[in-house]
Amino acid sequence: MYGQLIVEGLSIGACYAVFGIAVVIIYKTSEVINFAQGEMAMISTFVAYHILNVYGWPFWYAFIGALFFAVLLGVFIEVCFLRPAKDPTVLGLIVITLGAEMLLMGLASWKWGAEQKDFALPFSFHKTHELFKGVVINDWSIAVFVMAAVLMIFLYIFFRYTKLGVAMRATQQNEHAARIMGIKVERVFSFAWGFSSLIGALAGMFFAARSTLDPAYMMEPFLRAFAAAVLGGLMSIPGVVIGGGILGILENFVGFHWPAWKPIVAFLVIVAVLCIRPSGLFARHYEKKV
């Protein structure tokens, strides 16, 4: 019983983690909390749905098309909404991304209506494999685990060995110094937004397959993934994966014993953790300079 709960918790936790990575990449490079992340993924998933159901193209075309759209959307939001803001405050940045969220949500409900739709991935929930005695795992979970693992390895290599990855880390540590060293900081930001939007769209399609597709479906997963990212410290990618895992398992256990409290347990845990370690479990706390 508990083994099953842990496996399911880990799989949904891995999905939170992948989505949390999208939040972390943007925060890591530009110190912006992207509240529009969920809606960016939502609208990309709707694009996939549109290609599938209106144009009737095969799934993988829709998949690639949606990811392509996600990259464009991420770059668009960075270039048009965030870049023109001159020296914005933390609150200003939050307001911009919240505005983008409302904008995208309104556009999606205007275009596709508020009713729930089915969105299926080729990885079904019903095809299960027995791991141990009494513990089964379905195709969806396997796909999520594989995606998370591949993404982790890729990001590890990317941030450590590629020029662009190092440039992103440099930009995060000190924007002015990075600029002086010849890094085109604006391009790094745009890249970060496009890349993060792509990862978000990936996770968004998995969430849509798990529940249904409607303009508000990414709200809850986004908040959970955000919570996982905060738990991990908002800065570290291993941190968000561990945070996602903890959150998924915890949520599944609480959901099993006290189903009514499942939606809020994440936040109670987060607030408790933040009171003890104000910048998450896996990030160093920098003292602010006056």
Binding site: I33, V90, L91, L107, W110, I264, L268, P278
Partner: protein, 351 residues
């Protein structure tokens, strides 16, 4: 330009006789408003006033103390449910139930202020956001609070059988409470407490060094702000007459934040203008966009060609989102900033 020569000049309620004159004109206009405007409009005006109270309170927290809150719908809900339940379950009169509910709300504000002592920026926003969601979740799932079906608001009895029934009567009550609370906020910000808030906003470490007790003033700011939200929530219940947990969601918290950002952070006049503008836009203009001449049919045409006509009401959130983005990019000080610039321009005109 605005040189203050002594302390009393700085703390007085009206800066000059001109301000006093226009304030009196505005008040007279507001009190005689039922003479010029048909009475079916007044439920909208009541909503505007309720949001003005809330925005003034939220601005004390966000604009003056510099703490982000994405959970004000939670305090709003506590005020609404607290007032109604104190009246129906305990049988308290309205005049007692409203302040009591607001004090309950401010107690929750104090509790939420405790984690804020160690958190800032994004971390604080997630903590407050979690608070708002938790409150909505609890009132939605506990039968004591009416569950998903909602609560019927009792008659608004001011005591002695003097019951307010129409929107215009409620308008006078809410107007008086609003004026009182706005003046209190203005005075509060001119006292030691208000200056401490501003010091915390500008730099909490520096504020602590010069002797501002962060524990007291940060939690106090949350508590004051929650008190305003509580009063606003209690009145909001009476404006609606019937409510369920549904409206007190994250979007509402965002809309509250939009009001003060659009109006102008840290300015009371700004929160009043922002709340008025956003409320009228949200609850009147964009909701009935189809009836607006010229624009309405055009939008319906666009919708039926490329979008869905049913989804047209989502124009509301599209416009709100665009306003939020545009304000931060083009005018970070909000409407109040525009007003200040106009004033400055005319003061030295034609030079």
């Amino acid at each position: 330009m605005d040189m203050k020569r002594d302390y009393y000049e700085d703390v007085q309620l009206f800066e000059s006789n001109v301000v006093l004159f226009w304030t009196v004109v505005l008040l007279v206009f507001l009190f005689t408003l039922p003479l010029y405007v048909p009475s079916y409009r007044f439920s909208l005006f009541n909503l505007v006033l309720v949001h003005v109270i809330l925005a003034v309170g939220l601005n004390i927290l966000v604009g003056n103390t510099g703490q982000i809150s994405l959970g004000h719908a939670g305090f709003f809900a506590i005020g609404a449910y607290g007032t109604t339940l104190l009246m129906t379950k305990l049988g308290l009169p309205f005049v007692l139930a409203l302040p009591l509910a607001a004090f309950i709300s401010s107690a929750f504000g104090f509790i939420l202020g405790l984690p804020a002592l160690r958190l800032e920026g994004p971390y604080l926003s997630i903590a407050t956001l979690g608070f708002g969601l938790t409150v909505t979740h609890i009132i939605g799932h506990w039968d004591f609070f009416g569950g998903r079906t909602g609560l019927q608001v009792p008659p608004l009895d001011l005591g002695g059988g003097f019951i307010l029934k129409t929107d215009v009567q409620k308008y006078y009550l809410i107007l008086i409470i609003t004026i009182f609370l706005v003046l209190s906020a203005r005075n509060l910000l001119k006292t030691r407490v208000g200056r401490a808030f501003v010091a915390i906003r500008d730099s909490d470490i520096a504020a602590e060094v010069i002797g501002v007790n962060l524990l007291i003033y940060k939690t106090l700011s949350f508590a004051v702000s929650a008190f305003y939200a509580g009063i606003a929530g209690g009145l909001f219940g009476f404006v609606l007459g019937f409510f369920n947990p549904e409206p007190f969601n994250l979007i509402l918290s965002i809309v509250f934040l939009v009001m003060i950002v659009v109006g102008g952070l840290g300015a009371i006049a700004g929160s009043i203008m922002g709340a008025t503008l956003i409320t009228i836009l949200q609850y009147s203009l964009l909701k009935n966009i189809k009836e607006v001449p010229y624009v309405g049919p055009f939008m319906v045409d666009i919708s039926s060609r490329w979008f869905t006509v049913i989804g047209l009401e989502n124009l509301n959130s599209i416009v709100l989102g665009l306003i939020m983005i545009a304000i931060v990019i083009f005018e970070p000080l909000g409407i109040y900033g525009i007003w200040l610039r106009i004033k400055k321009y005319w003061r030295t005109w034609p030079f």
